[in-house]
């Protein structure tokens, strides 16, 4: 792909910004200006940028807190830090070139070790690619508030360290442990949340403390009127609740108000990561597409040298490489590779559609590529993006194949390959693979025994005979700690049959003295 570009007939037209590998502030400013010009020409809509130069050690720090610039203290972050540091020191792991934070202004970290080319690549990739994705994608718009996230993290850190002072590190750590075990169950997937806002947060927090406590007491004081459900028993909540942490925050009988606030902090932090878990392919694909497009444009405008481009193409090719399933380097489908190739392919379908494309994508073929691509970026998540845009050409390029892995059978069964008969099935299967409700077990708050021993029942709906793994009993212990009364996990299979999967404490307790 580089051959055509390397003809240097235009280079004489103007002078490249720099020739060496070293960067300095002046050069970064010049590159930024050139890249910004191009991004504006393409109409990328971004938050203002804030670039922070950091060292490798600081990058390791950033890793440990999942890229959050400020985080409360917890041993698990220390564990991640230690394990990253170990593998970095032993040379098993390179560091990411960049980390970017979904905030306004959008914060991107540039490592001091990077060459000038890498800094330019990171600027294009993070400051314009990811940044515009954060600002445009509907999931990020719905679930996160870029204006307030930094403030909220500061609030959370301060609140938790205050609690540590007041109630002791161990107390706080124990609540955090339990909440972390349920962190992925702190989001209403089908309800829109209210965005996190700092000012509101502070104002409401005091009221909330008192109000919540009174609400909870009321729930437990009043014996609700008998609601008759289908099976003839009273259930609370009347509908199953998927947001387990929210349910605990509002209803756990014995929890103190500061503990409820911590549950809320973990829930809100989880919510911040929720869109990222669902848009990895799109987000990285979009950022790769734009660094590729922008840096090539830089070259066309004669801002960079041939050497710069060769160095860039080498890094780029490494990033978007997809090892085959039987390669020792294979570690699942590389979201950078899939995303980048799909984005490039959408542009191709718009610009040079083949007969096949016209059949598969009649609404896309021949439209202005930038508009169509931006539309895709704004309105999809990985699951729907793949279902909508995975083209036969990309399936052929990746030589994708689908197989059925049924634990009941001795052999794996190939169900589709990259041919006419298989495209649709591969597309559906791959899309399902990115469906978060398929990736994560479907578990809901099912029932609380309000009139009796206050026990909490969760329901796991199994799909395809896939069971929960062995850490489940540990999670149940954490849940028990939060709830304060017996907890139970029941499993419901496809036929609606229910059985008890796990309970904590292990013996069924009938008599409770509070």
């Amino acid at each position: 792909m580089s051959k055509k570009r390397l003809k240097s007939e235009k280079v004489t037209a103007s002078k490249p910004i720099s020739r060496g590998a070293d960067w300095n502030y002046d050069l970064i400013n010049q590159y930024y200006a050139a890249i910004e010009d191009i991004a504006n020409d393409f109409g990328l809509d971004t938050y203002p940028n804030q670039m922070e130069i950091i060292s490798a050690e600081q990058m390791l720090d950033a890793y440990a807190s999942a890229g959050m610039p400020i985080g409360y203290n917890h041993w698990s972050f220390g564990k991640h830090f230690i394990s990253n540091e170990q593998s970095y020191r032993r040379g098993q792991m390179g560091l990411a070139y960049e980390i970017v934070i979904n905030s306004n202004p959008c914060i991107a970290y540039l490592m001091e070790e990077n060459s000038m080319m890498m800094q330019a690549l990171v600027i294009a990739h993070a400051c314009f690619g990811h940044n515009s994705f954060f600002k445009g994608n509907y999931l990020f718009k719905t679930w996160t508030d870029a204006e307030a996230i930094i403030d909220y993290l500061v609030f959370a850190k301060t609140y938790i360290s205050d609690c540590e002072q007041k109630y002791g590190v161990d107390e706080v750590e124990s609540i955090l442990d339990s909440c972390h075990a349920l962190m992925n169950y702190g989001v209403d997937r089908y309800k829109r949340p209210s965005p996190i806002s700092m000012r509101e947060e502070k104002q409401r927090q005091k009221d909330r403390e008192q109000y919540l406590q009174s609400q909870v007491n009321e729930l437990w004081n009043t014996i609700p009127e008998k609601l008759q459900s289908k099976d003839g028993k009273t259930r609370f909540p009347s509908e199953p609740q998927e947001n387990i942490l929210y349910f605990i925050e509002k209803n756990a009988p014995l929890m103190k108000s500061w503990q409820r606030e911590i549950v809320r902090i973990v829930r809100k932090t989880g919510q911040y990561f929720y869109p990222q878990r669902q848009t990895q392919v799109m987000n990285e694909g979009w950022a790769c597409f734009w660094h590729y497009t922008i840096l090539n444009e830089l070259y066309d405008r004669c801002h960079v040298t041939d050497g710069f481009m060769i160095e860039f193409l080498q890094s780029h090719t490494n990033v978007v490489a997809q090892p085959d399933f039987d390669s020792p380097y294979f570690n699942g489908i590389n979201p950078y590779a899939l995303g980048f190739n799909m984005m490039i392919d959408i542009r191709r379908i718009c610009e040079k559609p083949t007969e096949e494309d016209k059949k598969w994508f009649p609404e896309l073929a021949g439209t202005p590529w930038n508009e169509s691509l931006t539309f895709a970026m704004r309105n999809f998540k990985d699951e729907s993006f793949i279902a909508q845009y995975l083209s036969p050409k990309v399936i052929r390029d990746f030589k994708l194949f689908a197989l059925n892995d049924d634990a009941g059978l001795n052999e794996l069964n190939i169900t589709a390959i990259h041919n006419d008969a298989g495209y649709q099935e591969i597309r559906n299967n791959l899309s399902m693979q990115y469906n978060i409700s398929m990736k994560e077990p479907n578990i809901e708050v099912y029932d609380v025994d309000i009139g009796g021993n206050r026990s909490l029942t969760l329901r796991h709906i199994t799909a395809n005979n896939i069971n929960l793994d062995e850490t489940t009993s540990e999670v149940m212990k954490h849940l028990h700690k939060l709830w304060g009364f017996p907890v139970k996990l029941i499993s419901e299979d496809a036929n609606g049959e229910q059985y008890v999967l796990n309970r904590c404490p292990l013996e069924e307790v009938t008599d409770t003295n509070g």
């Binding site: 720090d61 972050f77 750590e173 085959d324 399933f325 892995d405 850490t471």
Partner: protein
């Protein structure tokens, strides 16, 4: 757009989290340390220690899918498969298992990481203290260090602080001159106001002016009053030197394994002393019927046979103490390892030596008997010393795994009560 250079910011943002991790898994880390201490050489004291604890102990649970079930999956890189092909399930640990292990974060059964030598020592010697350390240190304030402590108006010329003195001189001159100068100015103005022909004639004014000028001139540039001398005081420095005597029986009855156990014990003691003292000298004394001062290698590895006369070692130690390590300047510790054998009548002699000339001069004497047999005369003689001296302890080791617990038993911190009392005494509460 703005660029912020964060490189100078605090680097170790994760330090707190790292410490939290170590704090939480202290018991597992301690266990790992206790397992590994046996494999450490005496020269490795300052090295980092790598620790491994079982991954399952530190995993973070969550609701996750387990193995099995019926799954449809998509993979890249088809080479030869067609629809309907059946392929045998790959072995666990490759292919699909790769994704699963990366999901949970760890692929290994053991979580390995390194403790810095400080962290290592802290955990290794947690809750241990050198007996009577504080009290003794207060007694032995031997070295003095000169430290600056402000300025004095008196002193030797070599200690004159020039800047301070000149500042004083300048201040004094300004203070004395300024009223005179004001007066002079006034007179000169008065002189100016007179008509020009009267100026020369006004003798009174001119006299006053010249008198003032002379007075101003007479103010000395520097006066003994201005001089400031650097003042020094002597700050008592607790001595930071320690010497550790290793006494070991190398008679025929001590086999290599027993010596290994003794070596481990000495290593622990050495590392522990290293923590409290800047410099630790080690004196190796081996003995059978005669005692000899040797180097480390000879101490542990050279083989000699013969009978056993323990007192020979004690006498040599006494001589070396008198010769090189004056207890006034040195913190003396001694550890003796033996299998308990001794020439019959010698044990009593040992006891006398100990009580008259050794124990009163040293900080601590630890005696370990490495044997599975019943204790013999030496043990009982030492035991009788316990009543009169609190700086001797005796313990018995039977196997490798006893070393660390026994070592801890030697230096376990005294009970809460005594700690509380000593803090009360020192006015800390």
């Amino acid at each position: 757009m703005q660029i912020i250079d964060r490189r100078l910011n605090q680097k170790n943002k994760s330090t707190v989290n790292r410490q939290r991790f170590i704090r939480r898994y202290r018991s597992q880390i301690k266990k790992s340390i206790a397992d590994r201490i046996i494999n450490r050489g005496i020269t490795d004291v300052d090295k980092n220690e790598s620790i491994s604890i079982p991954s399952k102990d530190i995993s973070e649970p969550s609701f996750r899918h387990g193995q099995g079930g019926n799954r449809n999956r998509v993979f890249p890189g088809n080479k030869a498969f067609s629809v309907g092909d059946k392929i045998s399930r790959p072995m666990q640990g490759e292919g699909q298992a790769g994704k699963r292990s990366s999901d949970s974060g760890e692929g290994n059964d053991e979580f390995m990481f390194e403790l810095s030598s400080d962290e290592y020592m802290n955990i290794l010697f947690e809750d241990l203290e050198l007996p009577n350390l504080q009290i003794n240190q207060l007694k032995k304030l031997i070295n003095y260090k000169n430290i600056r402590s402000g300025f004095n108006t008196d002193g030797t010329p070599s200690n004159i602080d020039i800047v301070r003195s000149l500042k004083g001189s300048l201040a004094r001159r300004i203070a004395i001159k300024s009223p005179l100068k004001k007066q002079l100015k006034k007179l000169e103005q008065a002189l100016q106001q007179l008509p020009s022909e009267e100026r020369v004639q006004s003798k009174r004014l001119n006299d006053e002016i010249s008198a003032l000028k002379r007075r101003i001139k007479r103010i000395p540039y520097i006066d003994s009053f201005d001089l400031r001398y650097k003042h020094f005081t002597k700050l008592p420095q607790p001595t930071t030197n320690a010497v550790m005597f290793c006494l070991m029986d190398v008679s025929g009855s001590m086999d290599q394994e027993t010596k290994e156990i003794a070596k481990r014990f000495y290593i622990l003691l050495y590392m522990f002393l290293k923590r409290s003292y800047k410099d630790v000298d080690v004196v190796y004394i081996r003995h059978h019927t005669h005692a000899k001062e040797v180097d480390e290698h000879e101490f542990f590895y050279s083989q000699e046979t013969g009978g056993t006369i323990v007192s020979s070692a004690l006498i040599l130690m006494q001589e070396i103490l008198a010769d090189r390590y004056n207890p006034e300047n040195w913190n003396v510790y001694a550890a003796q390892a033996s299998d308990g054998d001794n020439w019959d009548t010698d044990s009593l002699k040992c006891r006398n030596l100990m009580s008259t000339s050794i124990l009163p001069r040293i900080r601590y004497f630890a005696y370990v008997e490495i044997t599975e047999r019943e204790p013999q005369t030496l043990w009982y003689e030492y035991q009788s010393l316990l009543e009169h001296f609190d700086n001797i302890a005796i313990k018995k080791i039977t196997q490798q795994s006893d070393i660390y617990p026994i070592f801890r038993a030697f230096f376990e911190k005294q009970g809460i009560n005594s700690k509380f009392n000593s803090r009360l005494k020192s006015g800390g509460l």
